[in-house]
Symmetry: D3
């Protein structure tokens, strides 16, 4: 029996549930998906300022991760933190940004990302670059919809997604990645409207974590992701 | 019930069996692994000349792939052909070179490859480059052992592998990939002797194919990997 | 007296003759150009599947290359196989893709390619990338005409070529390369209609091979292109 | 009268004072340097886990930045957060990692960095890469000394620094950057022992911030660094 | 008291005065800016031919640089020569192309350049590339106005600049650099019409030189920029 | 009848003769090679300062190029000026640095350069980079011998060359380029002592120029290398 945690980058529990539900569809029957929402941070992450707050909140949460969790999905598209989680934990950590790109690159010569707001584009580009996966990214397009707007009007979201997807395809994308954890499940609605595979990073990451656990592979503890050194670390207490 | 084919790049059936056996350990209980050996080609692929012959032999074989196969593992480390298979087939195709790098990149900041002979190094580099995965490759080292020598003396192979692995680690690798399909299973013997995760591309590719099939994802047929155009193609008949 | 072989990547003899005729215009009076057409393979190469079949067919043909040939022009734009030919032979091998880029780069700060069908674009990009020549390529545009259509309607071909050339120039190309062996000679018809030099890769490759032979330079046999190792290789016999 | 804040990435006040003192030497007589230490976070930042905690702590601190501060020096070598600070504030933000590279690149064809511990090397590389400055970095070497050890034994620190500097020079560095805020001032002790300029990022950043303020230049608010969107953000309260 | 020379790349004294005047606004009250115009060369530099003549003329001039000059601003946007000046002199040398990019990169994720004529675009790109700063350049746009036309009609110049700036912003620039020394001061006129910071390279370079002098930093004399070897060098005498 | 000029980058006539003699061996019987030595400049070019002086001297010389010259070889390895010559002239211009790399890349997967003094290494790297040919360069090694020392002791030169060549081969070079025009002819002496092809850039460039002329190809006059704009240009007269 395997337990995988899907850790939301933001504090909006409904989004964690959406992501966890999508992850459950992607793993085997013997795998349990646990939803974890940071207890502080940002309601949604749109930009670097939000991202760095969310990264710390997630790491804070991971300090008290139940010991029966076998792997982590970091559910924040383009958000920071995965390397810190890799240092902190001994179990595999996969972030949805890199996961969607890893799978997309097996299906087409170039892939694209459709995300929320324009300001997220540069951040996603940096995330893919530090993951070593930017070279095959043909385009990152935005829908103009904020993270918390994604659910508000499913029809408008699908329309905006398809339009942005078509722009990415015009720029060479042969696969499209959903550029926000909140879009998990959207691929079902847009699949028929785009001529390319559509990948949900939550599903991709959950499956990759499951694969790593099954193959008894986990983060290298040599050098970069070695356990954090012992030292004084203090989270904000009364002042906040 | 899912059926995945492990297709050897060379004609040495014992190597196909080794690879298929390793793939079986990596997939779920409902997945069957079928071993496919090209009926012509090269006994082992070491160099571009061999690689191009093997690519054609594999594509020739795939023209008559049983229709119940749901996905393909191309088992030739650094060998050519995967894009041709993606055009020819409608099912997912994953090559062991890219697969091992995709998983390695989730486990360490940089990865290395330990392969057979020196002449394979440039070819593997080119394969990773066209896969968009070379950026995080710190080193490709060779053991000096030919493909068909890998099995001959398991102790010598393990020793050579470990020595080459240490050289790769000294150059920044934090994860090591087995650089030859024939090395499948070797990770069990060297795991305790190297301070980093060791990844077998056959296992990685089998798991990735299984994941893609489960998520009902397959090759994009837009543009690059569209079905081959109808035309006259002729394989050698009597003259050979 | 020097003998250079122009080896077609496809089985369409009329195309081999077109290429060989163009090559003859590019070499000196003491050089003989021999046309070689593979006896099996693809009628035209458009895509990776075709390319890998053609590469094997060409290598098969080169195994029985007459011993008086002093150099090889591989006449397939974007097609695979040149590294295999370099291993197999001791004489210089130049492929028309790289040759056209090498000359183009001496004439303008950036160059472009105009090719046949859209699906060839990615393949040509990969060929230029592995040749180390992609950095100065501003654009690869397609005419929408298939390889075997190139000859069908010379006026339509020239018009499509000029339109695609203008698109490439708008994207920064200062030189245009003909992106298909079958276009050899077309430069004469479009020269007056484009404000940039137009380069035929067949002519470029023939001249480069001649230059290498004259300077007694041939492929390095150290490491990457060393002669193929002795081993069992088998071409398809009765089954095909 | 200009006021610049030097913001330490860690909570060790003595290090903030060291950095602020060094910054004072680098600015004009009309510029006041204010030292700011986050009230929570890490005692020293060595690795991504620490870095993400420090980034959030710094951003938290910057939320309450006095309104008379005209510019910010982020004093954490290789640490995260600068883009978040650029979104949050309307005043210039310069981080010591990029600052030292910017100046170094004016003095030599290639530069190197000498930092604290080995695990920081990859993180510094990523920081320089996202700053667009990695291309001219010939080497990042480590002294093996932790951040808080830098002050402990000045002679040992200088010796270790010089040895690492010589390794970087052997790899092509023509300028050396101090790879830790805590090394501020060390350049005075090693200057005579290395044949290249030695740059302190704190001094560099302070001077660059002063320059930007004088030229009435500040962060672009178009797109990437636009002000954070209004939303719910919550820092940890009682639980921590 | 510090003396900085602003050295024009061309022979048009009015442009040297414009640049020197702009530089004076950028330095402290104790710094004197000296204007130096080469006594031969080109009236304006537009293209490589002009650039190489100007580089030699500037180096010729620098051979007789007054000994009380503490630093050099090379005022030619995209023009050659800075590495030669770094070899020749022991004082810091900063060129306005790199200087504007260095400051721009602190203010936005990507920057753009607006220059004079189209033919300068490639040259500026090469200058930024050899400076290691091209990676964050989103766009180089031209106004279509020649170097000596910049002053002729200030309104037309501002309009052309703003239009080109908007094109650069549409391509991702978040900061704009004035792409010609003759544009120095133009930023005052276009500042209100573009939504991004506008940087004058003359001001940037003057401030950077001043910073380097203050920090007692100067060109590395190890390897690349070592003093020129003693040898026979002859400038044209009677024949010219 | 074709006339090609070999233009020395320096004023040492014996070197121009050496280069011209080598070029004569590389061209056909109907081609005449004319040796051109600038009338001013540097006795030898070692470093950027020398290079920019030599570039201007060469361009000055080319302003009065006889009208019967059909193509130019720029004989300065790593030296500047070729783009200026391409603007100035309507005939093909090939520089020996790029020429040797172009041919080398047809013979091996990676090439190396063996040059004179260490300080030339960075300059050669920049020249290859702006030529778009640096990607396949595995190594640039120096012999430690100055340009004018190359002829002094042929045995010592050959020994130093071979040692440096072996270092380049150890770093992955499969072809070696002579890194100085003055080394022309040296390949005959070292050929038997290195296991790889050795390429002389003078011979390579002469053959490439001849090829371009034969194919009636010349520099693109669109954009980058358009003819220089009409303007005042003045060479030094009495003052020098």
């Amino acid at each position: 029996m395997m337990r995988i945690a899907v850790v939301n980058c933001n504090t909006t529990e409904s989004m964690t549930e959406t992501a966890a539900a999508r992850a459950r569809l992607a793993v085997g029957p013997d795998t349990t998906v646990v939803a974890i929402t940071p207890s502080w941070g940002v309601a949604s992450a749109e930009g670097w300022y939000d991202s760095f707050i969310s990264a710390a909140a997630v790491l804070h949460t991971l300090e008290r991760l139940p010991s029966d969790i076998g792997g982590i999905v970091m559910a924040g598209f383009g958000e920071h933190g995965r390397e810190g989680a890799r240092e902190l934990l001994d179990i595999p950590v996969v972030d949805i940004t890199e996961a969607s790109a890893h799978l997309a690159m097996l299906l087409g010569r170039r892939y694209g990302v459709v995300t929320t707001v324009r300001r997220a584009v540069g951040q996603i580009e940096d995330s893919l670059m530090s993951a070593g996966l930017l070279g095959h990214c043909a385009a990152i397009e935005d829908t103009g919809l904020g993270v918390l707007e994604i659910d508000a009007d499913p029809l408008a979201t699908a329309d905006a997604f398809v339009a942005a997807g078509e722009r990415a395809i015009a720029r060479g994308a042969e696969v499209i990645c959903l550029g926000c954890a909140g879009m998990a499940g959207l691929e079902e609605h847009v699949r028929d409207r785009l001529p390319v595979p559509v990948i949900d990073g939550v599903a991709a990451a959950a499956a990759l974590v499951e694969t790593l656990i099954r193959q008894r592979l986990t983060t290298s503890k040599l050098d970069s992701y070695a356990r954090p050194l012992a030292k004084a670390r203090r989270w904000p207490g009364a002042d906040g």
